[in-house]
Amino acid sequence: LLSISTLRRTGGRADARTAKAGLVACVLLSALPPVRLSAQGDVDHLAVRFASMTAVTGLEQAMVDSLRALFPGSTRDRAGNVTLTLGQGAPKRLLTCPLDEVGYVVGNILPDGFLLLRRVGGGGGGRMASPLLDQQLEGHRVTVFGTKSAVPGVVAVKSTHLTRGRVAPGAPDPVFTVDNAYVDVGATSAAEVQGLGIALLAPVSLAKRPQLYGERLLAAPAAGRRAACAALAAAVRSKPKVRGTVVVAFTVQSLYASNAGLASMKALLGPFDDIKTAALPVRYLDTAVETVALADADRLVREIVQWMEGR
């Protein structure tokens, strides 16, 4: 079991909610007896699959569509949450997993074909992101989600060769911010950009390339959230014998507008006798290599199933 002492905070303010959830998960998981789940093998596959997806907070439609395809009978509520109701009668409980992530949208298209960005989430109205979050864009691949297709691009970075010798020793060394992020999709004009189906407000994220390493460690942006959602999905797919009613919700906008997705969930379908949010401890939080142990996701599946079955 990943111990709390091994969790590393890598940037910004400590995320008290996540840390607390991780602590609770660790304590609970260590005491749980094994549960036989036919779908337990789903976790690795689903975690990698979910970690490959992009769901910029408030603009989660593509991932929402994928989840709805995964769960026939699920619905999308007016806020955008994916919900699935299992069982019937009392008690009525809510099982949630936030699926969104801090990301970007196209804020401007320049005449020479470069795109400029605006960050969405991570700065007020939700959890503060690491001061280095934007710096992870610099010199890396991004995906621009245009209306015609997902368009690969890169964020410009100064050439090493042209920088050397032109920066005075001891000069300020400020972090890279999104205001310096010029996205290059290979276009040479604004018209060419528009021809690709890219317009203002198109979602943009780091190119998602989940990396498995060590003993079933998964590294990816927002890996902890995605693995927790994978655990929830795997638990549901194992067809547990639900006690009472359990509303399963993959919620949107947890990182913006005061967790609007969950709040609307409660307003629309509540009240609930109990609410459980799937969460996992992570290492390297808020980085492109946020790491989660899939063994922890296995344990979370078992915990969720037991909770759903009222055991």
């Binding site: 590393r8 905070r9 890598t10 940037g11 910004g12 320049l110 020479d112 470069f114 690491s130 001061p131 280095l132 710096q135 992870q136 610099e138 010199g139 890396h140 691949r141 368009v151 690969p152 691009g153 890169v154 964020v155 410009a156 970075v157 100064k158 050439s159 090493t160 060769h161 042209l162 920088t163 050397r164 010798g165 032109r166 060394d173 400020p174 972090v175 890279f176 310096n180 010029y182 290059d184 999709v185 290979g186 276009a187 040479t188 060419e192 690709l196 390339r209 990396q211 498995l212 390493y213 060590g214 003993e215 460690l217 590294a219 390297y284 980085t287 492109a288 290599v289 790491t291």
Partner: protein, 370 residues
């Protein structure tokens, strides 16, 4: 191209970049599309092969697989790959480098994380908090470059380490990691819009590719003298392979053409003082960099060679060093030729494939007609 810190402070910004307005622009036609497809078919596998300086073996083998069937190659004791074509003097050398920037493992900590030293010059923050690959005798081990845990107000991270999830020194070693293993980041050749593409280590896999493409199209019967193509090692850590090749050839060659990156300021982040060779407008005569100055008469000759065949060629000056400069102490003239590259030594270098074709054509023309 070597990021040369020795002379980087020189005020070289005053030299004008001259675009050859008379040269035809490189346009896509049916024929060009075929050429671009061929260029990509050679370049993509080379870009997706790993070869940090001193560990170029996989790249060298990939180049050998892509050589024309008639070619006989040899590898010297330094690790350079040689192909000799034609007979007679004056001998002309083309040289592109096989290696790429990266890291080497220098130690393994008690917690299993790997201590690193750099191979070549680059911005270290571009590797921080990214997936990592450790190249061991047992194969490639996945890991991550650990994010910093302090100093969040600085762009530059502390010395990078790699976490392979081992948890202990013994665990890391059991996976095959040892001091001396090289470390890279996963890389992928990706097409962008139009004829543009992104990837890591275009510097100098584009040069390697252009030499291969030129060899494939070379009219051997037209050669008036011997032409030597070299794919060199250890360029990024001090032009070491080129130094060995130059020493072995001594004063024999008349000219050497370093085929290497022209680091372009064609980017919204760069100063426009020099190096403003736009991508997509053809190869570049790299007339002046931090390691060599091509005599103006030779630049003019190269321009004439390109113009005679209707090949797009730009002329400019940029930063960095090149392999050809190791030959100049032997009286060999370095006429470096490059292609414009955005975002050099980053994970997202950007090229235009039209420039790769143009570069291959310039090499072929220089070999056959000059």
């Amino acid at each position: 191209m070597k990021a040369d810190g020795r002379t980087g402070g020189r005020a070289v910004g005053v030299v004008a970049m001259v675009l050859l307005s008379a040269s035809p622009s490189v346009r896509l036609s049916a024929q060009d599309s075929t050429r671009i497809a061929e260029a990509q078919s050679v370049l993509a596998p080379l870009v997706e092969t790993y070869g940090v300086s001193r560990a170029e073996g996989p790249v060298r083998e990939a180049v050998k697989r892509l050589l024309p069937a008639w070619v006989k190659s040899e590898t010297d004791t330094a690790g350079n790959l040689w192909v000799r074509v034609g007979q007679g003097d004056p001998v002309v050398v083309f040289i592109a480098h096989l290696d790429e920037i990266g890291f080497r493992v220098t130690g393994i900590r008690d917690d299993g994380t790997l201590e690193l030293e750099t191979r070549g010059g680059f911005i270290s923050s571009l590797f921080e908090a990214q997936p990592a690959l450790v190249h061991t005798d047992k194969g490639i081990i996945a890991g991550v470059f650990s994010p910093r845990d302090s100093g969040f107000t600085r762009h530059t991270p502390p010395p990078l380490r790699v976490d392979v999830g081992a948890g202990s020194r013994a665990g890391a070693m059991a996976r095959g990691v040892s001091p001396g293993s090289t470390v890279t980041m996963p890389k992928q050749y990706v097409r962008l819009t139009g004829t543009r593409a992104t990837g890591r280590s275009f510097d100098d896999r584009v040069g390697c590719t252009a030499q291969l493409l030129a060899l494939r199209r070379l009219d051997r019967a037209a050669l008036k003298h011997q032409v030597i193509f070299i794919w060199s090692v250890r360029e990024e850590i001090g032009l070491e392979g080129a130094a060995a090749a130059a020493a072995s050839l001594s004063t024999t060659p008349r000219r050497v053409h370093a085929i290497d990156t022209f680091v372009s300021a064609d980017s919204p982040l760069e100063l426009p003082n020099f190096a403003v060779a736009p991508i997509g407008r053809g190869a570049v005569a790299r007339a002046l960099d931090n390691s060599s100055v091509t005599p103006p008469a030779y630049v003019d000759s190269l321009v004439q060679v390109a113009r005679a065949r209707g090949i797009a060629l730009q002329v400019g000056t940029t930063n960095g060093g090149n392999d050809g400069s190791e030959f100049t102490p032997y009286g060999v003239v370095d006429v470096a030729i490059g292609w414009p590259l955005r975002y050099s030594h980053s994970p997202v270098e950007v090229i235009d494939l039209k420039d790769v074709v143009s570069l291959a054509d310039v090499i072929q023309a220089a070999a056959e007609t000059w």
